[in-house]
Point group: C2
Chain length 313, copies 2
Amino acid sequence: MKNPPKIAIVGATGLVGRTMLQVLLQRIPNATISLYASHKSAGSPIVEGENKYTVQLLSTDNLSTEYDIALFSAGSNISRQYAPLFQQKGTIVIDNSSCWRQDSSVPLVVPQVNSQSLKNHKGIIANPNCTTIQCVVALNSLQKTFGIERIIYNSYQSASGAGANAIMQLQRQYGCYDNIIPHIDDFCEDGYTKEEHKMIFETQKIFEKNIATTATCVRVPIQYGHGVSINVQLSKKTSFEEIDQILKQDRNITYYNDNTYPTPKDAKGKDNVLVGRLRKDNTHDNCYNLWVVADNIRKGAATNAVEIAEILL
Amino acid sequence: MKNPPKIAIVGATGLVGRTMLQVLLQRIPNATISLYASHKSAGSPIVEGENKYTVQLLSTDNLSTEYDIALFSAGSNISRQYAPLFQQKGTIVIDNSSCWRQDSSVPLVVPQVNSQSLKNHKGIIANPNCTTIQCVVALNSLQKTFGIERIIYNSYQSASGAGANAIMQLQRQYGCYDNIIPHIDDFCEDGYTKEEHKMIFETQKIFEKNIATTATCVRVPIQYGHGVSINVQLSKKTSFEEIDQILKQDRNITYYNDNTYPTPKDAKGKDNVLVGRLRKDNTHDNCYNLWVVADNIRKGAATNAVEIAEILL
């Protein structure tokens, strides 16, 4: 690829798009960055540090520039329409929507877990669901070392996972203010929500193993950061002490032991996954409970996409 | 017992004590009620509807009145010291603290589940932990019909579970404002908290069966109501449809099906346990996911204690 790389952000004025810009400036500082959004924001100025941008209109008439990489975070409909158009011009699309995640020809990538799947991409790469990302990073060393038989997820997800408007609603005391809502995304026929199905399907796709997985996803009234309580059943017999050591040595997580623990506030603005409260689940052989938090907008979305871009560059 | 019954509330100025008074007035309206608290509140007037009370000082010099029943909600230390003094005068103590729950001679009672254990009381009856109460009510019909092999609890607990001060802190934006805290009560040697151990131990004691149970308890920034996500493994094979029917017919719960669900706001001020989001957990035979909410101050504490009193009277 050329140096400096040319990178577009599609959906640049949303919560994730703005954060993609911030993370790009921090991690790929030599990139030439262009910002795209709908007619609602096109023409608006965006200032990030010493950098000034004008948001360009995303339209089929306005796609002449050839980018090395385009980071998409504008929803599934925009991804479905525009990702192939960028792809046809030789741009590699890293898409944060759920549009392509189930497509078997599209790699679903968390760089710390399955960067090897990137080598088979055909121009579109999917960024996983925010909650899935932090969980597979937390579980990766256990899957690699012992194998995982079964996962039971329970999530505690912040309002920012539903976009900037949801945070406004939280602040204005509408929506999920002073309440918790066991319902994220639409319901499916089996009574699970799409969010729960994403966690199940994406965990299996990223680990390239049909791990028995179930999930309950709940919105809680905090602005940033998702927490997930994980009950994991390992394939091989091990001990609390051995897992404790492996998590301590895992460079892809920040591990809290000895009755310390991370909260969403600790994760805010950070690019890493925080893991704590390891406990033996005595109700079953080889089962353990874990508590995992991450900044859903950074590691759960923007940072993961930029990390994929770093590998491609 | 005499008619009208004489009932004392010890710890009458706390969040649960005040609610005990309200529930008593609603459910045992002919009772003669006396209120006790520490020197900080003694002498204060308490008005509830058309009823006026003066809080009496709880002290060993001030226990001449013979009550039929005393409802305690003043913490374990007060219960340890004063419950035996009331008991010696022939008063039946219903204690909301954790002081006596593990005592094998003290029944731990949820009237909808194990009222039969009341017949063995020796003058002290323990009210279970708030989170435990709503879970065993929700699971009772499944335990009776199919038996339960294993339970995995994940709780979403409101600030009011930590008392009136915690709500003040929430409102004043200290404490767990805009954050979730995976830590309720003290840590034990095995890494679980006392709250988690209460859920495990008390579920087993109330169901009179050593059901394999694990728990993760998390404080969320809402004022009232606890949510619990339950993964339950049944002993006998059954079907989603059969469980759906049994929960519909269970008069001790309010059941939400067809993709409706209860939230803590729905539970506020109510005396019942709300159950929803029944789903087959396809990762294991006979496993199901459930979502349970209740008003932790009413059914989780005050109402349960008053319901025990109703049976005794």
